[in-house]
Symmetry: D2
Subunit: 350 residues, 4 copies
């Protein structure tokens, strides 16, 4: 590929679309050449997101209008379900295209799992086989060689990163993983729904999708691959009165001989040198606000008072490492750029 | 006792003190005759809490100044550790006194447990034996007969209420209880500490006291009593960017033959007719904001996707049912009043 | 009237409807006999507002279904524009009915002003003449004698109360009133709109309806009546990331000879003995959180550094004194009850 | 100067210090060689601000310890009052030093004004004369030539930028400027004070320092300079439940012949091409969240309904353009760098 890639963002009027624009505008090797948003077609991006006032950006178009010839790579930030057909069409028209898909459509390898969790058969099975699960740190080589990367869910990224090494090394019991995954509101998107109103969300907390959140399927898939056997997590998502951040509190049961120290060592070793993963000193709990706005993940390991359990805590910004930041990270691999290009933003705190 | 009781609030300049005033000013049978706050002695209550502007209240005094003779019952909202000696002195001066203590000082029956969790020997062991654990719904008759009620902690109340019936009926495994207990900031009190500043707390979340929060000792005590054997919960408290509310997500492992339906039935039966406990329909998760400002607890039971686990969720307002509201409820029992007197406030939402 | 009135709430699925239910459930002389909400007809109130779980309330019906015969008084919490015809129909069917209308439909005495600000001719002019502007403290006697009370807007109540006495006594220049009126989100209602989402509102502030907010028409009407001449306020509403509270910062220019002290004395005298209005000591600014959840208004007067200007600050809870609380206060007058009945809730802080 | 400057940050444990680190770590021509924080001396920066975990930074030292020889430029983020002597000492030891001071100590040209507003005589008058008021867009050439830049206050920057052109062009009455300046909490710093606790600030709003906030002195100074005569603004600061953002609503009275259109044209012309100032289309109000985290200012002009008044609204991030961002912008001028170097961060929304 050339020094600069031309990218299109499909679904640019949502929060992950805007976050892609924020990151890509400062990427040294990217030109944003198309932005689509069917319901806002014809508007300037600054009309839809006023933080872009005064910045030159392509006008929003409908998805049918953008010039695929002028594009090397597409970020697809469309609702799941509709995405499969869109991407199949794009590849049909331009086989050399690279795609980073932020929807859930290509994350599950097993068509039966897809059908079970999403309630309908997959519409682009021929592509599903070639899709790579885009958890960058765990799947780097496959991503580099791919043309379609399925960016993982925000809850999934948060809970997969700290658990995979522990399962691979047989340090924890795959059947006794209990996850409480608290998220800020921006992960729910920009659709106008009563339950997402400020007055319905501020000054309170509630669990949602308990025992049946679809990101659970991604956990199952990745946990079982790492454990080499069946695995089962109890997964309880919770909605917090904040914009950004996922905070997963993961209670694990140690295998015989394992200790919190061993868990910590495993994670510290696995992620040593990773630019976006920080394993905090043993016993220290991270704060979501210390990764806000950045592509970072912070992980803590804390011993429980009894000998056989530990608490692993993982936090990231759902719009960055949990979505658009990891998408850019994957694009960097797809395009042969430095993996950190365009992702240097430090956390904003306070 | 007569129709009206005269009460003193020791520690009236803290949030639980102010909340007691809010509730007691509308109690039909209570007269607030003394308010103490050592560092604010001499000030009007409205200087310290401007919501009481225009309301007649006793001026704040030091704890040494208030007239014990004029008082029938004392609410003690002082820091733990100092409270033991204060209450011992009060009883020495006035044996007929009734006391509802909101500190942790008399909650643990076992002096060894107290010393282990609080780091020093108990200073008033002679009173400890007579103290009654004030979780009203579970201990009603003992409270009626007591002169010293140890009001439980806010986290404790939230996690004890929904679990005790399940342990008593042997529906869940006492060794495999995993609690994530998220709390608003007001539970941390009004002391000026950097980590409690708005900018340190808003727009983010973090766990604290993981594996060593002192309310765990109360859980152990009550869980073991109910289970009739040892019990162990993994308890992870979390701080949320909101003022009021505790939200406990409790993952339980079912004993053979038990089901989520059975758990729900047990709780619904146990709390049938209770004025302050609502068990929601099976499968429904409560929201903390629906109990905000009220003395209510809302409990939900949700089946996990596998057969042997369930998620029990419990929420209350930490300043009301988690502190001052339950203290008034206990006072009502101590004084022979209607248990609901002064506690009719409905939740404020939005 | 008898000792108890039977009331209906039209529009019970909105926030002001729910707030009326909260207040009326604790009113000693009211029975809520009907709740309407067209889009939620058939649901239990607890389905729509879970804070009412476990409380007996009439099921929601459509507006056409409720039994007018069984009702003495109607609270109308419907959108403006539609309300006029609804109320005209109710009076046609039951002339003895009393109505407290929370919409804007009957607030403006002058039909031309209504048409100018609302963009269409008034549909029930015959009722408009008999409607009384329900700012209770300023209009008590007329309200007692009325059958239709037009409850003022939330911004209007906040800015009318502290300014009317100053205009009546010719202490300030009616042409140089500058109002910044900041409001929480609950005043915008429960309709699902993008700009009301948590992520669009939290962690930020913006002005809206600048120079053309419809509550300005109410200010004009009441200011001119008080001044006995034309008056003009510059009115800038602002939306804050909070649920409840209006906070009006009103900069006034003093007439010759007037001082901040004189303004303060005028307000303190006017509102002396009023149960719901507190004038703070001169120089002290109120906080909105000290009236949260109560029917109170707190007013402060502060001298500017120059001799001829002062800042008057007024705050209330938009859902209570700014809407449902004042509606209950007006109902009390209409029904010959104590004006404070059902309005004893103290502010919730923190 | 050389291609890279070595900078020290005095007062690095406060929020403006941390924000300087955030910006400078991504500045292409800066090396942070010293960080001081007397009370935290000896700690790693990541201990004090965990968002810097994993990033190499100098350890915090006391102010006496850092090596002045190795430093070309100092950012001084110390409390006002103490700063004067510190800077005088630095210049005495190293006359070639450049200093950007974020305190209030050198902002007021007139020693009498300093003494009046700060309550004590200035301690470094010899430096005061050479200090340049660092509102970059208005004072660019003087800043380039200076060695000591007095960075303006956050409220001041917000209200000076949109008003100076209007005063210079005699479009508005200098005696009738009414400012409501709402700010987020981070501007109050990280000191542990009761009134800054989460529970004291969230879910509410209050004015503070009304009629006597010290930033008023900066407004007076700059407004009078621009107007060429006396000027007086009524300035009411307000504290909002958010972290970042200043939002100034400025009501102005038009001089004869002036219109809102003329005001808008004046601002649009003045700031045409400025990289950090966006003048929105006439009639549009900015949102503080659209500049959050960036060095941008957004300004709106809205006609009032009467002919002679207009509302000018200005918003910025108090920690960036209101403090550390403008400090970096000034450093860029002092050092001959591109003015936008290190300031490319786009706003974070949501």
């Amino acid at each position: 590929m050339t020094d600069t890639v031309n990218v299109a963002i499909l679904g640019a009027s949502g929060y992950t679309g805007a976050e892609l624009v924020r990151l890509l505008l400062r990427h040294p090797r990217v030109r944003v050449t198309a932005l689509t948003a069917d319901r806002k077609a014809g508007h300037a991006m600054a009309d839809v997101f006023a933080q872009f006032s005064g910045i030159e950006l392509p006008r929003l178009t409908s998805i049918g209008e953008f010039d695929l010839d002028a594009v090397d790579l597409v970020f697809c930030a469309l609702p799941h379900g509709t995405t499969q057909q869109v991407i199949a069409d794009l590849f049909a028209r331009k086989p050399s295209l690279k795609v980073v898909d932020l929807s859930a459509d290509f994350r599950l390898t097993d068509p039966a799992a897809y059908e079970e969790w999403y309630g309908h058969p997959h519409q682009a099975l021929e592509l599903q086989g070639g899709a790579v699960f885009g958890l960058t740190e765990l799947n780097r080589e496959a991503i580099k060689a791919a043309r379609l990367v399925a960016n993982p869910g925000c809850h999934s990224t948060t809970s997969i990163l700290p658990i995979i090494p522990l399962l691979r090394e047989r340090l924890i019991n795959p059947d006794a993983i209990v996850i409480n995954s608290a998220t800020g509101m921006s992960g729910a998107g920009r659709g106008a729904k009563e339950e997402m109103l400020f007055s319905e969300v501020s000054e309170g907390v509630h669990a949602y999708g308990v025992g049946r959140h679809r990101h659970t399927a991604e956990l199952d898939q990745e946990y079982e691959k790492a454990a080499g056997r069946s695995a089962r997590a109890t997964f309880t998502p919770m909605l917090l009165p904040m914009n950004r951040g996922i905070y997963a509190t993961i209670t694990v049961t140690l295998e015989a001989g394992a200790t919190a120290e061993a868990l910590h060592a495993s994670l510290a070793t696995t992620y040593w040198g990773e630019p976006f993963v920080q394993v905090l000193p043993l016993g220290k709990a991270p704060h979501s606000r210390h990764v806000r706005g950045s592509n970072n993940v912070q992980i803590g390991v804390i011993a429980d008072r009894g000998p056989d359990r530990a608490i692993v805590i993982s936090t990231l910004d759902n719009l960055v490492k949990g979505a658009s930041g990891q998408a850019v990270q994957n694009m960097n691999l797809l395009c042969g750029f430095e993996e950190t290009d365009g992702l240097g933003q430090l956390a904003i705190f306070p």
